[in-house]
Symmetry: D3
Subunit: 157 residues, 6 copies
């Protein structure tokens, strides 16, 4: 195992934008989410919340780079029922990432390798595994596990 | 403590009606809930669910007596966006209930006493406690705890 | 408004299948959902639940016609981490449905009309509205509302 | 449609106060919410969270203007079981709002119109629609849609 | 891969017991869950629900064998605030299970193997993996994946 | 009741760290939570969120003192599947705390007393009450209520 110093970490900032929505359907909110991902935010998600006057509601959260703020506000205001958004800046640390293609007996699967100081992590890219799982009629877990097994087998050689 | 046989339990049946809703706002769903309670169901609630096509949604549940089924179906179909409901019959056991008025130093609070075999339970009626908490500007917990303390003090005498 | 008797309702049964999953990721569960919809179930959804030993988990629910039970069990067992499923039969009532195409100034939108006794309901088909919202760069709500407005305008003529 | 510059947006700040609660019932939490709304916060809601030691819990969130911070802390400490609160300041942008009364065939409904740069949004005020829905025994959606239809019909003239 | 007929499946029934709880804290509900697991139910979990009068609440669900019904009702009535429970019987199919001990380089891990017709599934027992992850200061995922890798390596020999 | 000035409040700051996780099971996330509590964070919890591509997911939140940031990031990166974390600093106000042992007829229970200006709050320590509830086979609520009753009885003397 590695023992480098904690040098290869990446630190930056990210905005977290929130809006509370109790007057739009989940069906329509999926469109809001789509528009935000099409624009290129880091992430978007809905949190179920218990709101006033017996209303089940959602909190929309958007994570993005600070320079995208103005665009994101416009997308949310335009594509949801909310009359306002709130946000703040958060600090962020992320692993250095690189990608590899793994040959498994069922096909090629893409993996993502993260490095953070002396920590290393391997993650199978869902989209490439899903493609094979569909083609070969296999459980997604089978394909993802095989990709990881193959990756570790290669390391041992 | 009591040691009677398990005789005073009440067993009956109840219908549980479900509808999944992804195309109506939480604001409007509060109206559906209101109509169901106005009609006189035992209980109604919404469960947040992760539905198809990235849609956050709700499962509506209604608990009521079997004879109310037809009315409940009409209320849901009329007052929500769903195109259908499903239901089944469940067995039910409930505690025998009686009510008492407790005199606390802040006012009168209603309590509910449940008996089930040799088990006994005391519950403070929220509405009566809320009234006093509002009038006397007290935390609701303070009022509810005082009612229970007074109840147990009386038992000891 | 109509005043026919409650004749045109449809009553049948549906199975509700459940499995609790605490040992599979949400990413992989989206695959399970996909396989179930590809097979042709009525609906599938995940409910967040608080499970034993501090485990956040999901309850998978599948709604389908009874004759599909064996296939659904196999799909779930194969495509999720669960070691078992449970189910029961529920009664169901659904509105009679028909579809219409509505011409709006932005394009054609499909609507679904439901009839249940003397109740009538109009719902805009999301997929057709989303297509126009994307093409014309409009909020989905705008497109859906216009389709409904147009539908009611035609009724008045 | 309008094409003014993005001038009429309003930017200010808001505090977001949080407290985690695992030792108070939902019934009592509704009282906490009531006290906060009675005071005049912008919004309050509960988020279900999976807390330590197998405890289902809630995160209380309060949105309010910064000057209200001290009062809000006192209301929460007094009216909930929490021993502490945390908060930060968020930036906020909201649409310019104005209100109109719409005459529908079922009665008068209040709508809220939001302007944000060249974006415009119309929202039906739930309370006024609910009043009519109750009086005329109509689905809330029917009343809200009619108000919007009437609004757009007037615009076309 | 196997190609036996679907013979080795196990079919039985299970009761699903529900109670809705809005007047007890999550902290105390963890005790209710503990008592139910101590008794020996199959599973117990809480679902967050949006209940009447602005109350965030929980639905308690218990899965157990039918013969345990009376005991479970008593445990719930005694150890929670509810005044009643409802239940029904569900059919159940579960995989045939056997257990194996896997030797990994970090220690012994227990795995569960499920057989259902020609479907086979391998699951790492969390408790045994957690023990090693704690002792060797490893991520739980690392230990679980290694156990599966070792299992599949042995199969290949 | 007391009428001191608001002097005995404690104000400090806390970091709130977030990570979104859609590619790890709830079972494994319980391990992440354990590692964070073993390290000594103030609190950790999971929020169910509706993430992209039909994925049910969780938001991990960690509350801790600022000086612990680097350690917490390492614990999360090592013990969960996430490739990054985000955080910000929040202000915090907490009640002054002291502890007392209460003698009840069933045994000794620990209570926590909080003071905040002229507000006072009493909370029963769950762990000590659970021990007695287990030993004496009592509902947890019974033990906790008795401890509070005893505390208030002593005050009256
Ligand atoms: Ni936030
Ligand atoms: Ni294979
Ligand atoms: Ni159900
Ligand atoms: Ni008092
Ligand atoms: Ni069910
Ligand atoms: Ni238009
Ligand atoms: Ni926050
Ligand atoms: Ni009308
Ligand atoms: Ni159920
Ligand atoms: Ni290793
Ligand atoms: Ni946050
Ligand atoms: Ni006692």
């Amino acid at each position: 195992e590695q023992s480098k110093k904690r040098v290869n970490t990446k630190s930056d900032s990210v905005i977290e934008v929130h809006a509370n929505i109790d007057d739009q359907s989940g069906e329509q909110l999926s469109f809001t989410m789509k528009k935000l991902f099409d624009f290129g935010v880091y992430d978007t998600f809905f949190t179920p919340i218990f709101s006033k006057k017996n209303r089940p509601a959602y909190q929309l959260t958007v994570l993005a780079k600070e320079s995208a703020l103005e665009d994101i506000i416009l997308i949310i205001i335009k594509n949801s029922s909310t009359f306002g958004v709130r946000w703040n800046v958060m600090q962020r640390k992320i692993m250095q990432r690189k990608f590899e293609i793994i040959n498994t007996k069922h096909g090629q699967v893409k993996i993502k390798i993260g490095i953070f100081g002396n920590l290393k992590k391997v993650s199978v890219e869902y989209a490439s595994a899903e493609k094979i799982a569909e083609e070969k009629n296999l459980p997604i877990g089978t394909v993802m596990e095989e990709a990881k097994r193959e990756y570790y087998k290669n390391l041992e050689v």
